[in-house]
Amino acid sequence: SQQGEEDPQALSIQEGENATMNCSYKTSINNLQWYRQNSGRGLVHLILIRSNEREKHSGRLRVTLDTSKKSSSLLITASRAADTASYFCAEGGWGAQKLVFGQGTRLTINP
């Protein structure tokens, strides 16, 4: 299946501001997972949101899911320099075991 799209591809904001990243996908999903990757290292799992959920929170992170628009967003509030990383969404399909990753958003937090 085709990879989903994320926008923006790159985002640069000041420390303390909120950052919003969007993800669109093409197929019917069981869940959507968000990951963070620092400097080309391993992926850190942030949040999993299931297709019957609309919103989930984890600390400063808020994820929404709109299955009618096949889109999801990740909001990071009160950003910190340590949030500088690439963020990826990944689709978990029904009956499928693999994830399909979006193109990612490169987030830079300026001190």
Partner: protein, 113 residues
């Protein structure tokens, strides 16, 4: 949550050689996955490795180039064979299913000269 380790963390190899990457999970898992991340790109699934059966490869990836072993429920290897500079990437393994959280290893950064 599963803890996954990979070895080596990075390597620089000569063209035409092969490299085997190891992936170890701290608990027994049914499915393990191998992904490639080319420079500046997202992750692309290479293959799914199930214990006791042949790996399932995605379109564009073949067993001769990327042979995979899965000898038990906690371990897998990926070999990158007959390497060329185009194989320079980060290779990541993961465990889990598409219906639940997938956990990733720290990745192996491969540079082919």
């Amino acid at each position: 949550s599963a803890v996954i380790s990979q070895k080596p963390s990075r390597d620089i190899c000569q063209r035409g050689t092969s490299l085997t990457i190891q992936c170890q999970v701290d608990s027994q898992v049914t499915m393990m996955f191998w992904y490639r991340q080319q420079p500046g790109q997202s992750l692309t699934l290479i293959a799914t490795a199930n214990q006791g059966s042949e790996a399932t490869y995605e379109s564009g990836f073949v067993i001769d180039k990327f042979p995979i072993s899965r000898p038990n429920l906690t371990f897998s290897t990926l070999t990158v064979s007959n390497m060329s500079p185009e194989d320079s990437s980060i290779y990541l393994c993961s465990s889990g299913t598409g219906q639940d959280t997938q956990y990733f290893g720290p990745g192996t950064r491969l540079t082919v000269l």
